[in-house]
Symmetry: C2
Subunit: 139 residues, 2 copies
């Protein structure tokens, strides 16, 4: 067996690419617009890690995408969790669970998919403004 | 950035390990029972691919795990999609979307997580009983 991808559905493809690529930092490694099926799929992966992509599925005809509790999150390690969270906030992304412990944060995609960020190599020293920043909503 | 895992929640850990390990064929590469948080997490990955695990989260106190439309599926390539589907059926797993095209099948975990199976290396010749097997439910 070989892991291929995790697929999530997106309501607005441009908004989602803005989140996953411009804000989160994944790279687009493939895109297929399928006229016959009226859908587009886009594959996004960390730099140098094409074997672990997330697949965005965008159905051209609108659907409602509610979130269920059976799915938890996608998780990525980042080199500097404080810098990454600061960049995400500057880009308008709510840090649902700030990295108070220097180790772990959560944000949500435009469709409510939780994304966990973990400090590569272990926790940083707890630091403000993160240390005293409260949670926002659920993730 | 580095992909770490995809997390799904499970209602019954033993039933889920039976599905993901004994039936689907992933290997257990880690387990942490966290008394303080009253949860257990289990990491499962394809053989030789520890860098792409799924994390099962089992909360000791019962929750209801409904499925939302924003999450799609986990996908794995398999060497023999007909053999894999036959084994899964023999083990009592419903093939929600049989591999009629010799290429793609879907099953569901005990908690309703869709798992896509793709024939490694491209489609096999369409063959019975798969070719004429109808879909069962959604996936």
């Amino acid at each position: 067996m070989r892991y291929l991808h995790t697929m999530v559905r997106v309501r607005d493809l441009e908004e989602s690419i803005d989140f996953y690529v411009n804000k989160l930092g994944l790279e687009q490694i493939g895109r297929h617009d399928v006229e016959a099926g009226r859908f587009t799929i886009v594959f996004l992966a960390p730099a140098g890690q094409k074997e672990a992509p997330v697949e965005l599925t965008y159905n051209w005809d609108p659907e409602k995408y509610d979130g269920g509790r059976n799915f938890g999150h996608l998780a990525y390690a980042v080199d500097d969790i404080y810098g990454k969270c600061a960049d995400l906030m500057a880009a308008g992304v709510t840090i649902s669970r700030p990295p108070r412990d220097g180790r772990m944060a959560f944000v949500r995609s435009p469709d409510g998919i939780s994304v966990e960020l973990i400090q590569e190599g272990g926790a940083l020293e707890p630091a403000e403004p993160w240390k005293s920043m409260p949670n926002t909503g659920e993730w």
